[in-house]
Amino acid sequence: MASPKTVPKDAQVMMQILKDMGITEYDPRVINQMLEFTYRYVTTIIEDAKIYSTHAKKSNVDADDIRLAIQCRVDQSFTSPPPRDFLLDIARQKNQTPLPLIKPYTGPRLPPDRYCLTAPNYRLKSLQKKVSSSAGRITVPRLSVGAVSSRPSTPTLGTPSVQTVGTKVGTPVSLTGQRFTVQIPSSQAASVKSATPTTPTVQNVLINPSLIGSKNILITTNMVSQNSSSDSTSLKRKHEDEDEYDAL
């Protein structure tokens, strides 16, 4: 602790207060914290008192204003627990009702859902607009690819289920469509990238190759459930993804 000579007067006063209250051991930073609190509290009170005194059209702030300011602040910040007779009263009321019987075998015994914290605290934005916009994008490549238009209509993917991933829901459809066309000439290409140069339309795919992987996984989840035997010409990647999925 700094020697009393070099410590400012306020801090000396605070050290004396702590000593009077019987506190002998404390971190040196406690004094700074206490002084900060004191400064903030006193400033708040005096400011409030100034407001009250101007409201009462007095020229100076006097003791009554201060007293009023303290009283108003006390109710806000330094509340104290209710008095004993009040507690005894409500205890008496509460204790009169008999203990409720316990219903048997009801699973986890929790209060009604309103009072629990188990509800999701987030809500997903609806994707209607975005689907239509990306669908617009799809049509362009689809037309260029040609015959594959039937396939992509398998977005029995059901866009709602795919929402959790992201916004570009529509593109996977187009990608699968793309892939079929790509597959026919070369087979079992390790990655779409190598196969893509054959078709000009695949440039769309090239733009964001990273998306391909994630979308494939999605597609396969739903495809597996619906038409497992669909893709004899399925990409090796697709297999990989399926394998990966099963291993999870």
Partner: protein, 739 residues
């Protein structure tokens, strides 16, 4: 007290028709006024200020109350009809005046009743009916409007001091109990009546004489110099409204009374009648050591009749469970022998429980959750483990395994172990709760719903499959509280964890998803401790608002409120039969509450500091409590008596635990030690004869040294929690303190 005389005289003037009844009242009252002090009438000053009509009203109501008390119902009716008073006015006065009776006779009651009534009229003539917070406080505070002459307070006090010092030795110890409450009340009166300098002088002169264990209170008093300070301090307000209880033998009391009544202008007699309850017993006066061991609490000692209610401290019957045959793999006995052995084991449990233990509560006294299959499996595990339990004793001390929390930066505020010692939870000052797995098995949470959809629900190990192996870890952190977590408690079925915090809420966490399920709001002030019932479903929490609450997990509001403590409830503990809750508080008392109706059935005084740990013995008969004064006190719950005192620790005791069969009591404290005590011996030496049972005065042998079986130091780690595993290995937990 002089006002008492005025009352009946007025009535005599008004009600000549009923002289005989009133003269009864008058004679009683005047009998006591002769003995009471005819002091400078402070009370006449008060009602004189109010309107005379109000005074008459109050007098009438007071007389009505008096007649009701003496069961003179006809006269009550007649008086009421004649005076034209309504029912409600009397009732409010009744509740005001029913501040507890005195052991000394009805006249005293009437006096105190009347004085209270007059005070009420002075303070709040309008608000007779409604009990709001503010009028109550001012009513309480206005109890000090009876002023003696301020400079004379010192004279009175010194006079009393001289008298007590001149008395025989055997009485001196008992009468010295008066000093502290009188001192505090006189000081507060001076402060309330704005005699600040005189109050300070009074304090300086006499505060040094008080007992050492009251020093903390005196320091708080020292800072209270103005009336406004009093208003915010609800602990002291409670101190004023509740009567400080003193136990004095009849002889000593006669001495005191005679002395005080000789002097007519004595304020002290007023104060004694107002604020003190003197519990008189017939017998030998107590010695200083006996008094010292029982005193120390903020409300004096406990009245004898408070501790007389019957407490069902026995254990509930264990349910009969079929122990499966195919377990013990190390027993190579013949197969025929095995089933027979198992059957006899079941029968032996059954035969014990066929006779109803008279001290045990009924099975259905409080509703308890029935056992699920998983609970039955747990019980079977428990029984298997208990067969492997080590028998402890003075020659066979337990091994201690200490779990030290490193890098906790003094933020560890609460610890709990599950009953089978597989999980450990810590509550921290940064408002997190962390759960660790003590066994090599990692903590797993349930998979997310997307993943759960695709698993095979028919497979045998579906319960394993639903757990997510990817995020398995040794510890999990639970976020949610917004203040330091002061209490944690596991549920007996290891599905839930409770945590209580400074933000005023108690949170229920699921240990299967490691998320928060419910936040129970009720205390609006820090909640210092929480604990699950031994059967699950119920839990209790205690906090700064001076009450403990009983909750059930499926009710968002508490089921019971245990109000009565004068200061914060710092420690809560269920009895093994789940019918009683023990609470320890900063007012230095331990109270035992009945879950069924919320009544306080025991008040145990004797600690000299706030109580921070409680432990019930496994047989339910005894309770151990530890506090900041470093002593562990042992209590017999059935009789409500202190039966042992274990001295030795030098700092606050935060952890107390009995071994699984109750032979050893382990205590851990801030002085970095764990001490083991021989509880068997301590309980055996209890002799309760009739005298001790009725008066509660036991002379405690100072045998702490003999009972101490072992003391183990840790390397600068205070002990926060203790736990005996099912096989009687002692686990301890604490945060390493590098200073």
């Amino acid at each position: 007290m002089a006002a008492v005389q005025d009352g009946p005289m007025e009535l005599d003037a008004e009600k000549e028709t009923k002289p005989e009844i009133l003269s009864d009242g008058t004679s009683n009252l005047s009998g006591n006024t002769a003995s009471g002090t005819l002091s400078s009438s402070p009370l006449t000053a008060a009602p004189a200020g109010g309107a005379p009509k109000m005074e008459d009203q109050q007098t009438l109501i007071a007389v009505l109350q008096f007649l009701k008390r003496n069961k003179l119902s006809e006269s009550v009716e007649i008086l009421r009809r004649e005076a034209g008073l309504g029912e409600h006015q009397e009732d409010s006065q009744a509740t005001d005046g029913s501040g507890g009776g005195k052991g000394d006779g009805d006249g005293g009651d009437a006096n105190s009743l009347l004085s209270r009534v007059f005070i009420t009229s002075a303070a709040a003539p309008q608000s007779m009916l409604v009990k709001k917070d503010q009028p109550d406080v001012s009513v309480v505070l206005s109890a000090y409007s009876q002023q003696g002459d301020p400079p004379l307070y010192q004279v009175y006090y010194s006079g009393l001091k001289n008298f007590i010092e001149s008395v025989l030795d055997c009485h001196r110890a008992e009468l010295s109990q008066l000093f502290y409450p009188l001192f505090v009340h006189m000081y507060l009166e001076l402060v309330y009546n704005n005699h600040e300098t005189k109050a300070k002088a009074f304090f300086d002169k006499f505060s040094g004489d008080q007992e050492c264990y009251y020093q903390d209170d005196l320091r708080i008093l020292c800072g209270l110099t103005k009336k406004e300070h009093l208003k915010g301090n609800e602990v002291l307000l409670d101190f004023r409204t509740s009567r400080f209880v003193l136990r004095i033998s009849r002889d000593s009391y006669q001495l005191l009374k005679r002395h005080l009544q000789e002097r007519h202008n004595n304020q002290i007699w007023n104060i004694i009648q107002e604020h003190l309850y003197i519990d008189i017993f017939d017998g030998m006066p107590r010695s200083k050591s006996q008094i010292d061991s029982m005193s120390g609490s903020l409300a004096g000692e406990a009245r004898r009749e408070v501790n007389k209610a019957k407490v069902f401290y026995g254990l509930l019957k264990e349910p009969e469970i079929e122990v499966p045959l195919d377990d013990e793999d190390d027993e190579a006995e013949n197969e025929e022998g095995k089933p027979k052995k198992k059957k006899t084991k079941k029968d032996s449990l059954g035969s014990k429980s066929k006779k109803q233990d008279p001290n045990a509560p009924q099975q259905n006294r409080i509703p308890l959750p029935e056992l699920k299959d998983s609970d039955k499996l747990d019980k079977i595990m428990y029984m298997k483990e208990s067969t492997k339990r080590i028998r402890l004793g003075p020659e066979n001390l337990p091994s201690i395994c200490f779990y030290t929390f490193l890098n906790a930066f003094q933020g560890l505020t609460a610890v709990d172990f599950t009953d089978d010692s597989s999980l450990l939870a810590g509550g921290f000052a940064d408002s997190t709760v962390r759960v660790w797995s003590v066994t090599p098995k990692k903590l797993r949470k349930v998979k997310s719903t997307a993943e759960l959809n695709v698993i095979d629900k028919e497979s045998d190990d579906v319960l394993e499959r639903i757990m997510d192996e990817k995020t398995a870890s040794e510890s999990k952190i639970l976020h949610g509280h917004s203040g330091p977590v002061y209490g944690v408690s596991f549920s007996p079925d290891r599905n839930y964890l409770l945590s209580s915090s400074e933000d005023g809420t108690v949170r229920l966490w699921s240990l299967q998803t490691f998320t928060c399920l419910v936040g129970y709001k009720g205390h609006n002030y820090p909640v210092w401790d929480t604990q699950f019932s031994p059967f699950g479903y119920y839990f209790v929490s205690g906090g700064h608002d001076r009450v403990a609450r009983l909750w059930a997990t499926d009710h968002y509001q508490p089921l019971r409120i245990f109000a009565g403590h004068l200061a914060d409830v710092t420690c809560t503990q269920f009895h093994p039969n789940s019918n009683y809750v023990a609470t320890g508080s900063t007012d230095r008392t331990v109270r035992l509450w009945d879950v069924l109706n919320g009544n306080c059935v025991r008040i145990l005084t004797g600690h000299k500091g706030p109580i921070h740990s409680l432990a019930f013995s496994p047989n339910g008969k005894f309770l151990a409590s530890g506090s900041t004064d470093g002593r562990v006190l042992l209590w017999d719950i059935g009789h409500g008596l202190m039966i042992g005192e274990l001295k030795g620790h030098t700092d606050t005791i935060y952890a107390l635990k009995f071994s699984r069969d109750g032979e050893i009591l382990a205590s851990g404290s801030m002085d970095n030690t764990v001490r083991l005590w021989d509880s068997m011996k301590a309980f055996d030496e209890v002799e309760t004869d009739d005298f001790t049972a009725t008066t509660g005065h036991i002379h405690l042998p100072d045998n702490s040294q003999e009972l101490l079986l072992g003391m183990y130091h840790s390397k600068s780690t205070p002990v926060t929690h203790l736990h005996f595993t099912r096989r009687n290995l002692l686990l301890a937990a604490g945060a390493y303190n590098s200073q």
